[in-house]
């Protein structure tokens, strides 16, 4: 038994174990060093965790779009980050108009809902157009081709928005009811963070139950399982794919407003980094798997916000916060190496992966 197992080990396996072991050792050593040094108090950690949760739930919302499109078309929708960007940028003009007319201060809830609706509508529109113009003609093309198309579409959308709205940063108006914090027993939560977490949770729950419970959701799942069989069962595949893009666009648009409320600005390039992070989250959770995307997003957000202080500070690394993106990408690579199916993913057949 043992002998057969040893025979099956290749040199590359040894190298991989070595890499994995080294990284685990580093994490362990760094964490113990940080924790014993007691640089951070419990309150600090609590802040990190809440920030991570807020960030992570935004990633999770974006990741839904990636994961559903991947599930149904087996392609990375590289332009999803631009779908995410278009919404809040367009909604910015609504928000600014509300702000300057004083409507935002008088009826904050109604204005927030309006902003959300505009953003979600724009993102959805962009997603539908993207599918119709760029992806639909390429359904049967070799896999590299839709990926390149998506990259091209991503450039196109970014610079169209830049041309339309300008290249500067636009400051999102401050919503007064979201300012301030709730404090209890020394722990504090910034209000907007709580709202972001809550809103994301509600949206995700709604989307998940839509996909799981409704007839349409069932049809989408059937198509992503097997296109030909489901078309034989009388499901309109085109319609299901468009619905998927609509859901992805809606969640991206909502995530965009949350992101804009959190960081208080919009920019034509703002989609790139959250987009890649969200894709990482989707892969972390197991791409094609909706609860996986949620879990992956929140996990990634937490690791990103807690990780630099926890793992790297103890190793004596200067300015660890600069390396938070590196931590995210390292996690991505590690997951792809050691568990390519992700945390919740089932084992995909080779032809699917």
């Amino acid at each position: 038994m043992l002998k057969r197992w040893i025979e099956r080990i290749t040199p590359t396996d040894v190298v991989m174990w070595f890499i994995g072991g080294a990284i685990l050792l580093m994490i362990f050593w760094g964490s113990t060093a940080t924790l014993t040094a007691k640089t951070y108090t419990v309150h600090h950690w609590f802040d990190f965790i809440i920030f991570g949760l807020a960030q992570g739930s935004i990633y999770a919302l974006i990741a839904m779009g990636y994961t559903m499109v991947y599930g149904i078309l087996r392609m990375i929708n590289f332009a999803h980050s631009e779908v995410f960007m278009c919404g809040p940028y367009t909604a910015y003009y609504v928000a600014a108009a509300f702000y300057s007319s004083g409507f935002l201060d008088q009826y904050p809830i109604i204005s927030l809902i309006m902003i959300f609706l505009v953003s979600m509508a724009t993102s959805t529109l962009v997603a539908i157009l993207l599918e119709r113009i760029a992806y639909r003609p390429l359904r049967t093309a070799p896999r590299l081709i839709p990926l390149i198309t998506a990259i091209g579409a991503s450039f196109f959308l970014q610079y169209t928005i830049r041309g339309l709205y300008g290249s500067g940063f636009q400051a999102y108006p401050v919503v007064n009811i979201l300012e301030g914090e709730w404090a209890f027993g020394g722990f504090r939560i910034l209000k907007f963070q709580a709202v972001v977490i809550l809103a994301a949770a509600i949206l995700m729950a709604a989307l998940y139950s839509f996909v799981q419970r409704t007839r349409l959701g069932k049809a989408i799942r059937a198509v992503s399982e097997d296109k030909e069989t489901s078309s034989l069962m009388g499901i309109d595949i085109d319609k299901m794919i468009v619905t998927t893009f609509v859901i992805g666009g809606m969640s991206a648009g909502a995530a965009g407003v949350l992101y804009a409320l959190m960081f208080k600005q919009v920019h034509f390039f703002m989609g790139f980094i959250p987009g890649i992070k969200a894709f990482t989250a989707a892969v972390l959770g197991g791409i094609g798997n909706i609860p996986g995307a949620m879990l992956g997003g929140i996990f990634l957000g937490l690791v990103e916000s807690v990780g630099p202080s926890l793992f790297l500070d103890g190793l004596g690394i200067v300015a660890p916060y600069q390396l938070k993106d590196a931590i995210a990408f390292t996690m991505l690579v590690l997951v792809l190496i050691f568990r390519p199916t992700g945390i919740l993913g089932e084992r995909l057949a080779v032809k699917k992966a």
């Binding site: 990259i151 091209g152 041309g163």
Partner: protein
């Protein structure tokens, strides 16, 4: 009819988009023909012509009246949408949202006339463009080709005027052409007409006699044929050698940039084109090459102060080594997963270089400066006109190696891996070795390119190595044609060279780039200059439809 309305409305949306993103306004600063037509108007008219042509093409049946009315209608609708934009703009201030919706744009759209008359003229011109496109659709094939070629060359002469004028001015006798053809902004009227007649006559001649000349060449006995081919190659090499002298400083700079991308593209071509491993983190090796040279040669850090040639072997070794190192973990991945993992690697390297943590060794955000120039004997590769030769030598070397590798046992193994990994392994190809060798070779070429880049700039910054470069290189390969060496050169010239030449439109560079990528993938996925095998793969389906259909079903099932 409904088709024509739909096409016209789509055209209107495109026209409004082009206006609102500021392209029309920016392009209007340059005249194609002085005081007659500007580039902005050319852009819109091109859209109208294209939509009119499309409307004519989509018309069912052959009735020419119907075709003409449809193309007329689509042109009219397009212009109508633009007129609506002008109306809306004069009623409410669109500028609060769309920064480019300026009064200048409206006056451009109404040809500088009073709004009402201008809008009327706009409608007339739109409808006429549509109608012309319809007439064009109905005219015989040879006329269409000649018209397209000669109108196209007038437009390109107008667009590239800033490039052609100084080049002609460098050569004494050719300066007369400048006088005749160009004004300070745009072609002269007589120049444009002359150019049109010249090109039209030439293309007419070529379409009549071109095939006769080609068959004549093929009918020659082999010995003179070979001599002619050799002479062609000699002329090509000669042109390549004197190019920087002829073109002047700015164009040589563009050439060196294109050359660097050719080098990078050839390296990635081995990974993506030959072995089929989509690597989106290729910039990492470029960065590693640059930083190795910088650390080894720059006196600023003071660890080493080797010369470029002494550092070069280390650069290649570092490149190959890092190729193997980053290649090992991703050996088992395929397709999209591989792409994302390598993208992650590329970003990790950049973030590490950028961080304060490695600052004492790699200079952090400020980078490393004072990288010495390259010397051979007493000859200094100082400016772009000299570095060009360095890059040319690098390119020729890499082209030679790629050609030899392609036809070697290893090259065939790579292509087998590209087509089907499992079958390749079953045939006895060592997958690990083949993939690692592909990564290592590609990384070595990339590091070489990075080394030249570092000495060209004289300094390295982490910001030069972002993920856009990787994506650019992948696009160069895809647009050129995967696995094809001339394709890489054509791709680099088209995607890197052209935008450099049109620097003043830099704002719209990536926009056009993205649109071109999407259009390419939809219309010509095999690339501009594809490898023969791939062309057959993507377009051979018409010949043996039944067979390819059954294989498609097998693949998807």
């Amino acid at each position: 009819m409904r088709q024509a309305i739909k096409i016209g409305l789509i055209g209107g949306v495109v026209g409004i988009l082009l206006s609102l993103i500021g392209m029309v306004e920016a392009f209007s600063q340059r005249d194609i023909i002085a005081h007659v037509i500007s580039m902005g108007h050319t852009l819109l008219i091109t859209v109208a012509l294209f939509m009119g042509y499309l409307a004519a093409k989509r018309t069912p049946g052959k009735g020419s009246l119907r075709i003409l009315s449809n193309s007329f209608l689509s042109g009219l609708l397009l212009a109508g949408m633009l007129a609506l934009l002008v109306m809306a703009g004069s009623l409410i201030n669109l500028r609060k949202v769309f920064i480019n919706a300026s009064p200048l744009l409206y006056s451009l759209l109404t040809f500088g006339l009073e709004k009402g008359i201008g809008a009327l003229l706009l409608l007339v011109i739109g409808a006429m463009s549509g109608l012309l496109a319809g007439i064009f659709y109905l005219s015989p094939g040879i006329l269409r080709r000649v018209l397209i070629i000669s109108l196209g060359s007038i437009v390109s002469a107008g667009v590239l005027q800033d490039l052609l004028r100084p080049t002609f001015a460098l050569w004494g006798p050719l300066a007369i052409i400048n006088e005749w053809l160009f004004t300070a902004n745009g072609l002269t009227v007589q120049g444009a007409i002359g150019l049109f007649i010249l090109i039209a006559a030439f293309s007419l001649f070529w379409s009549r006699k071109g095939s006769a000349i080609q068959t004549g060449f093929r009918q020659l006995p082999p010995a003179p044929q070979r001599i002619l081919k050799m002479a062609g190659i000699f002329i090509l090499v000669f042109i390549l050698l004197i190019l920087p002298r002829v073109l002047g400083l700015f164009l040589s700079e563009v050439l060196t940039i294109v050359g660097l991308y050719v080098l990078l593209g050839l390296g990635l071509n081995i990974v993506v084109g030959y072995a089929g491993l989509l690597d989106l983190g290729y910039v990492a090796f470029f960065a590693i090459g640059s930083y190795t040279v910088a650390v080894l040669t720059s006196p600023e850090l003071g660890f080493f102060s080797l010369s470029f040639w002494e550092a070069l072997p280390f650069v290649i070794v570092m490149g190959v080594f890092s190729g193997v190192l980053l290649g090992t973990p991703v050996l088992k991945m395929r397709g999209d997963y591989l792409a994302i993992a390598t993208l992650g690697f590329g970003e990790i390297i950049r973030i590490l270089v950028l961080s304060d943590f490695l600052r004492p060794w790699l200079g952090g955000a400020q980078g490393i400066g004072k990288i010495p120039k390259v010397f051979i004997g007493g000859f200094e590769f100082a400016g772009p006109q000299q570095i060009y030769y360095l890059i040319l030598a690098g390119c020729l070397l890499v082209i030679f190696i790629s050609l030899r590798l392609r036809d070697s046992r290893l090259g065939r193994a790579w292509m087998a891996v590209r087509e089907d990994e499992d079958v390749a392994q079953a045939m006895g190809i060592n997958l690990v070795a083949a993939k690692l060798l592909a990564f290592a070779t590609g990384a070595g070429f990339s590091a070489l390119s990075g080394a030249i880049f570092a000495t060209k700039l004289g300094s390295v910054y982490p910001h030069s190595f972002n993920v856009m470069i990787s994506i650019n290189i992948v696009c160069v390969i895809i647009v050129g044609g995967m696995g094809s060496i001339p394709g890489v050169i054509v791709g680099a010239a088209a995607l890197v060279g052209l935008p450099e030449l049109l620097r003043e439109f830099a704002e719209y560079r990536l926009l056009v780039y993205g649109a071109v990528l999407v259009a390419m993938m939809l219309l010509r996925p095999e690339g501009l200059w594809p490898e023969a095998l791939r062309r057959r793969e993507l377009h051979g389906e018409k010949e043996n439809e039944a067979e390819s259909e059954s294989s498609l079903k097998l693949k998807s099932g």
